[in-house]
Symmetry: C2
Subunit: 597 residues, 2 copies
């Protein structure tokens, strides 16, 4: 039976030592309550909830799945009760506005809770996760009245929320969407259409569900410029509770590869009452906040599956006896050696470890940027915003791809047993598989990074990050212990800019070059970005060791993992660099009719 | 609903044009019947059976799975009837000895049938697949009486067979196995023990099941040198049919990630009557034939999932309209362009195509080597045997890894829909996932390749192949059209040898270097091996075009795919080459106790 233990020491290391959270929070207005002691207490409580309540439900959720019957969804055993505990613990309100019942803590604290909750049970975590998205959208774009009516109930957790974007003929290309909104004389709208892939669209965990829906007004321009955003409640609010049922219902739920515990719903809107949020035809703009948050949330899923895979591969690798070490028996009194003696098994474990610990540093860094975007001074805000915009597609795509890889290593470490359901390793792969698809596929993130962010800004977006890397390298140039990390990082940081220039020049000749290079460019960027964070972690570990820390083994392991990352994962940049320069012709020359004969 | 169409033109291209099968069969004694016309007719019949009977059962098999009830297994709807058609068509006997009812055709024809059958429905194909393994073992090591009693019934397909190797505590490390064989006064044995992961161990498709079982004699030496091989029938043979039930029964079936249509059984042997095959304590040696055949059979699974993914991704990529091409609308009258206009989508399709077509060439080449090992003159046989031993771990591990990658691209091409069961793309990933695990994991194949084959032979094993590549490059040195392929191939062929030397030197200092480098060495070898076959296919296509073939589009697509392979897949060798030289220390330095805190 797989288990989850919140990696508290790792979390503290990244948060307090590498990213200096105390300084970070002290610099932000409104974060006065976020003292180290208070944060520690919150994280420890969150860890208990994740470990004791959610983790034991993860496999049950997969096995039972959600049951659909006449428009209603029954979530797996224990899900509803766990949600009630979550609400009772005040978790939904953590990082929301005190004006609507929130605790007003910075988003970056919420990220840590989300990490633990999501690693313990990703399917379950999506119910409050989608609510969080709906809350952020309402916070930012809702009227005071809308906030009073809906946000308060979402913040308390009495109600949950969804985001209704996708239709069967449009996922990536929202400009094609057809759901209609007819204005009514009372200022409301009648929403009609069908949405698919609506996570948590229907369930039995809360009294009401608030759908945030993209739809078109009658006179809306075609394409993305004619989309508006609406609130559509499942039940109409009435007094302190709910009244009549609205014209929205779940038509069916999907049978899917993984995340069985989360209901993925077809939602039918049949002249349902809806209320406009934000200006007409500006729905997509209003959604940007949500989309970026959702992308970082999905990056977290990559980390979650890597961490979970690592935690559950390691004990097996220590217990399973099979073959002898090539350098002689390491467990001579036993019938064979534990498989952790074999370099190929260690390679898989260290890959999981390096991706999860590196991923955590990247995500927490992004969460601090998100805090700044919300709370810092105008100048700092602009800078943080640009940097976050650059890092978001990298975090989303790179961490989900490497999360999926790590989950697959988990199966591989178990050998044939990894394929068997009871061990839980194959579930982790199936659950992870969605993460490179939803909230924009890896391919879409890659276009966003190279096309929209880097090339459209004439490379400025990249420079915002490479100058940070450059500064770090310069500061550590004379540090002998850091040379093995700083030297390759300097080279890659330079090459990153050169490759960007090369691609930019090619793209001026042929726009297809952007799409042809984008995925390799993104993966290359991911490896270099993580190298920077591994170098920072190595630096921090080195400082602690130099200071004679009592936790020698912990910091030495950190240095060891950094060395592993630089020696065995970072060289993958060699392939990506070459491939991204190979040109668009090798992809574009074949006529669609001649792919198969 | 996913579909399968046997790629007859591709099969012919590899078999007749690239690998000159007519010449091949003409050179082998006993292959007189294998005329091109006859082979064509057989393949076309096999294609119909695969397309019309098996492919439609693939998704049903996944959804229904096998049902276990009181020791009996019910296979999914239609599986039993399909097996009866397979038997009626004479397929089980194709490449077996006419002395026992076989048709005596070379194994390489059987490989083509296995490809089509396996691509259409891998789970179903494992029932006859395991029989085939049992038949080959009996053919090679059974007494005349054993052949008469068991082989004849297996060849006719009336009975099926299994291979019972694994026990819960030993998969890779068969030396640990505990199943016992007690000699009886009548010359038979009583077999007792529990085997796990027995594919097709119990089912409702045939009258009897013949288990080939590894067990220990009472006085057997410990480890791999004390293992013997036994025949254990489910029912005792009696007259022309079966008599009493033997003491072997299925205890349960596994719930697993994929291949749901195939029953993976726990088999309990409780003083079951068994009959020794081959000499006592030489069971593992007797199994080598089977293991190598099984490894090539699993390589075929890699090809199967890549081909299936490609066939089912392509129509979706042509139909699904989403976004516009970056170089302007390609489907201006439609609401959006088909996604095949996007370079990133093409990249995934071409990856699937290049791996499946390249994999087919490699496997058919291996199948011809297997023909030679069986039928050619002593000298040719020795050479073919050495080459086959070298290529087998590459084919098994590289083609299953790339098959799994291709299957995952299939999901990715479909976006969110790829995660939904009804489209079948996620099933393909789940079914493919076992292929890198069973019949020796990728890590075990890698050790076999680098440790046992290449380094133990002082590199001779590698040279057997690189000299073939070298000869090809030399022959094409003056051919301008071939330069883009020959030039990189020359470089890689040389580097391959150099890397081997480097690793060999390191291994002399530290045996861990072998395990630390092996997986990257294998993947590197796989990419170079496939580059050779892509170069040969390019050469053949160029010849056909120069001769003014009427199939210009077909041959041009072949050249285009070869260019794609060299430009976008082969550069992955850059990462593998660097990583395999990074040394063992970065893997071995961390104490197992310090992996997690």
């Amino acid at each position: 039976m797989p288990e989850y233990k919140a990696p508290l020491r790792e979390i503290q290391f990244v948060m307090n030592e590498v990213l200096e959270s105390e300084k970070h929070y002290a610099s932000l207005p409104g974060c006065e309550d976020a003292t180290p002691d208070m944060i520690s207490a919150i994280i420890e409580e969150g860890a208990k909830f994740a470990e004791r309540v959610l983790a034991p439900l993860n496999q049950i959720g997969d096995q039972e799945g959600c049951l659909f019957n006449e428009g209603e969804v029954k979530t797996p055993t224990g899900f509803k009760e766990a949600y009630q505990q979550y609400v009772d613990g005040g978790w939904p309100s953590l990082s929301h506005d005190p004006a609507h019942g929130g605790q007003g803590l910075p988003e970056s604290i919420g990220t840590i809770i989300s990490e633990m909750v999501g690693t313990a049970n990703w399917s379950w975590s999506m119910y409050p996760g989608l609510s969080h998205g709906a809350m952020n959208t309402l916070s930012e774009h809702g009227t005071d009245e809308q906030k009073e009516t809906y946000l308060t109930k979402l913040v308390s957790g009495e109600w949950t929320g969804t985001m209704c974007l996708t239709e069967s003929h449009c996922g990536t290309d929202l400009g094609l969407l057809r759901t209609k909104a007819e204005p009514q004389t009372d200022g409301s709208y009648k929403i009609s259409g069908t949405k698919i892939f609506i996570s948590a669209g229907e369930h039995d965990m809360a009294d009401n569900i608030i759908h945030i829906v993209l739809a078109r007004l009658p006179d809306a321009p075609a394409g993305t410029k004619g989309i508006s955003l609406f609130i559509v409640p499942k039940f109409m609010p009435e007094g302190e509770g709910v009244g009549a049922r609205n014209g929205v219902a779940c038509g069916s739920i999907e049978h899917k590869m993984g995340i069985h515990g989360n209901a993925t719903c077809v939602m039918n809107f049949d002249a349902a009452s809806g209320y406009l949020i934000g200006p007409p035809n500006k729905g997509l703009n209003c959604m940007f906040t949500f989309m970026n948050t959702a992308r970082l949330g999905t990056a977290l899923q990559g980390l979650a599956h890597a961490e979970w895979a690592f935690q559950n591969s390691l004990p097996y690798a220590k217990d399973r006896l099979q073959m002898r070490s090539l350098t002689g028996a390491k467990n001579a009194e036993g019938p064979a050696d534990p498989i952790i003696v074999h370099p190929a098994v260690r390679n898989m474990l260290l890959t999981q470890k390096a991706f999860s610990e590196g991923g955590r540093a990247l995500i927490y860094f992004c969460a601090q940027l998100a805090d700044k975007v919300k709370l810092a001074s105008a100048e700092e805000k602009t800078e943080a915003d640009a940097l976050l915009a650059f890092l978001t597609p990298i975090a989303k795509a790179f961490l989900t791809e490497t999360g999926l890889e790590s989950a697959n290593h988990g199966v591989q470490v178990y050998g044939g047993h990894g394929f068997i359901a009871e061990w839980g390793m194959e579930q982790n792969v199936r659950d992870a598989r969605i993460s490179t698809l939803y909230e924009g596929t890896t391919q879409i993130q890659a276009l966003d990074l190279l096309g929209r962010k880097v090339l459209m800004s004439q490379g400025e977006s990249l420079k915002g990050f490479t100058k940070i890397v450059h500064k770090f390298c310069k500061e550590n140039a004379d540090n002998d212990a850091m040379k093995p990390f700083v030297k390759p990082l300097i080279g890659l940081n330079k090459e990153w800019g050169e490759l960007t220039m090369t691609l930019g020049m090619k793209a001026m000749q042929d726009r297809e070059e952007v799409g042809a290079a984008a995925v390799d460019y993104l993966m290359y960027s991911g490896y270099v970005t993580l190298a920077y964070f591994w170098a920072r972690m190595a630096q921090q570990a080195q400082i602690a060791l130099d200071e004679g820390s009592a936790e020698e083994a912990f910091y030495k392991a950190k240095l060891s993992t950094a060395r592993f990352y630089f020696a065995r994962l970072l060289p993958r940049t060699r392939a990506h660099a070459e491939i991204m320069q190979s040109g668009a012709a090798n992809l574009m020359e074949l006529d669609p009719e001649n792919f198969i004969f």
